[in-house]
C-alpha cells in the first residue's frame, strides 16, 4: 500500500475549524479571460524581474515580458496575448508595491505555439536541461513564499538531497486550490513531481497530505500506481501548520532542520503540489507559469468557486466572476486566514503565489480589545517551534529587542498559532514582526558599518 499515516508529529500546533466544505467539492473552473491583466514583476522572493517590453508592444501568450534580474529572481511571462497598456507601480497581494506590466488582452488572438519546446521525453533528457526549463518558465514556490524553484532545485554539491517531499498538506483553513489540483490533475502533478526528482537526483519521494483530504490522497495514489516502490503518501494528522516546511519534514521523516538552517541541511527538498503541476506544464507542454488554481470563498462572496485563473487577474474581476461580493463584505484576505494578507482594496492583482482569496463578512471582523498577558501558557503550547510567544511579545512591548533576539524571535515564521489561541487577544504576531523588523534593520546597519 502506498498510503499510510505520517510516522512523526511535531510538537505544538492548533486545530482551527477547516471551513473547507463550501468549495471542497467544486471542480476547478477556467476563468474567462479578463480584459486587463496586471502582471507584477515581483511575484517571487528576491529581486523583481526587469521588464523587457515597452508600452504599446504587442505580446503573445507566454511571451517573456520581464527577465529575472539576479541570482534569486524569476522570469515573468504574458498570461495572454494582447497589448502592453502601461508599466507602472502597483500594489502586490503581500501589501507591498512593485512594478507591474499592464496588458490589454486580445481575446480573439489565435492560440499560438507554446513559447518553449515541449520535452515529452524528459526521462531521456539531462537533469540540467530540465532545470533550465524550470528557470526559463519562471516557476516559483506556489505554496506562499514564492521562492524561485530553480534556485531551490540547485542545492550546492555538499548538500546531497535524498528525499523529495511533495507538499499537499494545505493546512490553511478555507483553501482548496491544492486539494482540487490533486483530485483533478493528479497524473500531471505526479509527473511534475517525478521531473523534480530527476532534477534533484533524489532517491525517495514522500507525499504529505492532511488526513482530511482523503479524496486527494486517493487520486494521487491511483496516479502513482506505476511509481517505484519507494514513493509513498503520508497522511498527516490534520493540525496547523503541517504545511510548514520544517514541521512537515519532521512529520514525514523525523529529521529536524537545524535552527537557522534549510531543508537541504537534512537532505530534503519540499515542493508544493501546484509547483509540481507548473513544472509538468513547463517541461511537458513548454508553457511558462502564467496561471494557477485559486479558491475564492468566505461568507461575503455570492458564489464560492475554485478558479484556474491567469496570473495578473485583478481580485475585482475574480470576485465579479464569483457572483460578486455581498454588501456585508468587511475584510478581504489574499491567501489563507492564518498567514494571508488583509488588503485595503479589490484593485490588487493575483500572483503566482495566490492560493486563495477570502471575503469575510462584518460578523467575522468584530473589533476587539487586547489585554495584558494572563500567563495562561496556551501560546507556549501552540508554538510549533517551542518559542515562548508570551515572553517574546512582552519583550517586544517593553522595547527590549535584545531580549527578544536572544530568545530567537528571528526563528518565528509568523504562523499565527499563538495569536489564534490567545484569550487576551494579544497581537502576538504583530509584536514578533516588529521585533524582527528592528533586528533586521540593526543587522543591516551593522553590516554596512563593517563595509565602510
Amino acid at each position: 500500500m502506498k498510503v499510510s499515516p505520517a510516522p512523526f508529529l511535531f510538537r505544538g500546533g492548533i486545530h482551527p475549524p477547516d471551513s473547507k466544505t463550501a468549495t471542497a467539492a467544486l471542480p476547478l473552473k477556467d476563468l474567462p479571460l479578463p480584459a486587463r491583466l496586471e502582471v507584477s514583476t515581483s511575484q517571487h522572493l528576491g529581486a523583481p524581474a526587469a521588464p523587457c517590453v515597452a508600452v504599446g508592444d504587442r505580446v503573445t501568450a507566454g511571451q517573456l515580458i520581464a527577465k529575472a534580474s539576479g541570482f534569486i529572481s524569476a522570469n515573468v511571462h504574458a498570461p495572454a496575448a494582447g497589448t502592453i497598456a502601461a508599466i507602472r507601480e502597483a500594489p502586490t497581494p503581500t501589501g507591498r508595491t512593485a512594478t507591474a506590466i499592464i496588458i490589454e488582452t486580445d481575446a480573439d488572438a489565435p492560440a499560438g505555439e507554446p513559447p518553449y519546446k515541449p520535452i515529452p521525453d524528459w526521462r531521456e533528457q539531462a537533469p540540467r536541461s530540465l532545470l533550465d526549463r524550470v528557470a526559463e518558465a519562471g516557476i516559483v514556490g506556489m505554496g506562499g513564499a514564492g521562492f524561485p524553484t530553480h534556485v531551490k532545485l540547485s542545492p550546492p554539491g555538499d548538500k546531497p538531497i535524498d528525499t523529495l517531499i511533495l507538499n499537499g498538506a494545505e493546512c490553511e483553513p478555507f483553501l482548496n486550490s491544492d486539494n482540487r489540483l490533486l483530485i483533478e490533475r493528479a497524473e500531471q502533478v505526479w509527473e511534475g513531481c517525478q521531473i523534480i526528482r530527476r532534477i534533484l537526483g533524489a532517491g525517495t519521494i514522500r507525499v504529505a497530505i492532511e488526513d482530511n483530504k482523503r479524496e486527494a490522497a486517493k487520486a494521487l495514489a491511483a496516479a502513482m500506481e506505476s511509481a517505484p516502490d519507494d514513493a509513498h503518501i503520508h497522511l498527516l494528522k490534520t493540525l496547523y501548520p503541517q504545511g510548514s516546511e520544517k514541521q512537515q519534514i519532521y512529520s514525514v521523516t523525523g529529521r529536524t532542520v537545524p535552527m537557522g538552517g534549510l531543508p537541504m541541511d537534512v537532505g530534503c527538498v519540499v515542493e508544493n503540489v501546484a509547483t509540481a503541476y507548473a513544472v509538468w506544464d513547463a517541461v511537458v507542454n513548454g508553457r511558462p507559469l502564467t496561471a494557477r488554481a485559486i479558491t475564492v470563498t468566505g461568507d461575503a462572496v455570492n458564489t464560492p468557486t475554485n478558479w484556474f485563473a491567469p496570473v495578473g487577474t485583478s481580485f475585482a474581476d475574480l470576485v465579479a466572476a464569483s457572483g460578486g461580493a455581498r454588501d456585508n463584505l468587511a475584510k478581504l484576505i489574499a491567501g489563507g486566514p492564518m498567514m494571508g494578507f488583509a488588503l485595503p482594496s479589490l484593485e490588487v492583482a493575483m500572483s503566482k503565489t495566490s492560493s486563495g482569496l477570502l471575503l469575510f463578512p462584518r460578523e467575522c471582523v468584530r473589533p476587539y480589545r487586547s489585554m495584558a498577558c494572563i500567563n495562561c501558557g496556551r501560546c507556549v503550547e501552540a508554538c510549533p517551534l517551542g518559542l515562548m510567544p508570551n515572553e517574546l511579545s512582552q519583550a517586544a512591548e517593553a522595547d527590549d529587542i535584545d531580549e527578544a533576539e536572544n530568545r530567537h524571535v528571528m526563528d518565528c515564521f509568523e504562523c499565527g498559532a499563538c495569536a489564534y489561541v490567545c484569550p487576551a487577544r494579544r497581537p502576538l504576531v504583530q509584536h514578533m514582526r516588529r521585533a524582527k523588523a528592528v533586528i533586521t534593520q540593526r543587522r543591516r546597519a551593522a553590516a554596512q558599518q563593517k563595509k565602510t
Binding site: K246, M259, L329, K331, P337, Y368, A372, R378, M388, D411
Partner: protein
C-alpha cells in the same frame, strides 16, 4: 488596546489587520466565568454547611472586590475592568478561604487588600505576582490571627473550636495519640465537607466536581492539581508508614484543610503559576512538599499549610518559567552543527 483599524478605500470599506484573521474565540472573560461556574458547587456546600455566615461572607467579599476594582481603575485613569470578571473570581475565592465567624469589616479589609494591594498596585490582571485572594488571606491571618483561626461558629460541631488539622497538631505536639480515628463515617463526613474549616474548603467532593469542569473546559491542565495532591499523598504515606502512632493516614491529609481548594483553584491561577507542563509539575510538587512540611513539623504554630505553600511557590514562578522553557525546534541540531565546525 489594539482594535483593528477601519480603512476607507475605494469600494467597500475594508478592515485591514495583521494575520491571523481567525481566532479560537477563547477570552479572558470566558475563562473567569468558567472559574465562577466551577466554584458554584463549593458555594452551594458553603451555604449548606455554614448557612447565613457563608452568604454574608460571599456577598461581602464579592461586593468589596468589585467596588475596589472599579475605584482603583478609576483613580488610576485606566479602563473599567469589571467586565473581565477577574475581581468576581477573587472575591469568591477570598470568601471561600475565610472562617465562618469572621467579622464583616475584616472581610471587607481582606477584599480591599486583595484588589488594591495584591493586584492593582502591580498593574492589574496579569501583572500580579501573587494570587490576590491568597495574599489577602495571609494578610488577614497575620493581622487578625484570633478571628482567622476561630472555628466555633461552625453550624455542625459546636463542641469543637478547632479544625481537624488543628486538633491533630495540638495532640501530636503534646505527645498524645491522634484525637480521632479516620474511620469510614468520619471519612465520609470529611469528603462531603461536614467539618470545621474555611467556608469553601471543607467539601472535597464539591471542589472536585468544579475541578473536573475546569479540566473539561480546558481552563486548567491536570499537572498542578495532580502533582500537588500526589505529593501530599506520597509524603503523608511515607510519614504514616514510618510512624503510624504520631501521624495521620493519607486520606486525612487529602480531605482536610485547604488542600482541595488550594490544589484545584488557587494553585491553578494562571497569572501566578508556570506556563509549561514541566513547570506546572515542579510547581505542584513544590506546593505539596511545602504544605506537608508546614502541616507536620511539630515546632510550627500553624496547622494549615496550603495557602502559604502556594504563595511561596508563586514567588518561584518566574524562576520555574525560566528553567522550563521549551526546547526550540532545531536548536540542538544547530548546536551540534556549530560544534562540528
Amino acid at each position: 488596546m489594539n482594535t483593528e483599524q477601519q480603512n476607507t478605500a475605494a469600494g467597500p470599506e475594508l478592515v485591514v489587520g495583521v494575520s491571523p484573521h481567525i481566532h479560537s474565540g477563547a477570552s479572558v472573560e470566558r475563562i473567569m466565568l468558567d472559574v465562577v461556574i466551577a466554584l458554584l458547587p463549593a458555594v452551594a456546600a458553603a451555604l449548606y454547611f455554614f448557612g447565613l455566615n457563608a452568604a454574608r461572607l460571599i456577598v461581602t467579599c464579592v461586593a468589596t472586590c468589585l467596588a475596589t476594582e472599579w475605584i482603583c481603575r478609576r483613580l488610576m485613569g485606566r479602563n473599567n475592568t469589571l467586565g473581565d470578571f477577574s475581581a468576581l473570581v477573587t472575591g469568591l475565592l477570598l470568601a471561600l478561604n475565610l472562617p465562618p465567624g469572621l467579622p464583616t469589616w475584616m472581610a471587607i479589609a481582606g477584599g480591599v487588600f486583595a484588589i488594591a494591594v495584591a493586584k492593582q498596585v502591580f498593574g492589574g490582571l496579569g501583572y500580579n505576582p501573587f494570587n490576590p485572594a491568597l495574599a489577602a488571606r495571609a494578610f488577614l491571618l497575620i493581622s487578625f490571627t484570633g478571628p482567622m483561626t476561630t472555628w466555633s461558629a461552625s453550624c455542625i460541631d459546636a463542641t469543637s473550636t478547632a479544625t481537624p488539622l488543628g486538633m491533630v497538631k495540638e495532640a501530636f505536639k503534646a505527645g498524645a495519640p491522634a484525637p480521632f480515628a479516620m474511620d469510614g463515617g468520619l471519612t465520609l463526613d470529611f469528603l462531603l465537607g461536614n467539618m470545621n474549616g474555611c467556608i469553601g474548603e471543607t467539601s472535597a467532593i464539591a471542589l472536585l466536581i468544579g475541578a473536573l469542569y475546569l479540566l473539561y473546559r480546558r481552563v486548567i491542565t491536570w499537572h498542578i492539581p495532580v502533582a500537588f495532591i500526589g505529593t501530599v499523598a506520597i509524603y503523608a504515606a511515607i510519614l504514616h508508614a514510618v510512624n503510624p502512632a504520631a501521624s495521620m493516614p493519607v486520606h486525612f491529609h487529602l480531605l482536610t484543610g485547604g488542600l482541595m481548594l488550594g490544589a484545584c483553584f488557587m494553585a491553578t491561577d494562571m497569572v501566578t503559576t508556570p506556563t509549561t507542563a514541566r513547570g506546572r509539575l515542579i510547581f505542584g510538587v513544590g506546593c505539596g512538599l511545602l504544605t506537608m512540611v508546614l502541616r507536620t513539623v511539630k515546632t510550627g504554630a500553624y496547622p494549615e499549610g496550603v495557602s502559604f505553600a502556594i504563595l511561596i511557590m508563586n514567588a518561584f514562578t518566574p524562576l520555574i518559567n525560566r528553567a522550563t522553557r521549551h526546547r526550540i525546534f532545531g536548536a540542538a541540531e544547530a548546536a551540534k552543527r556549530e560544534a562540528r565546525k
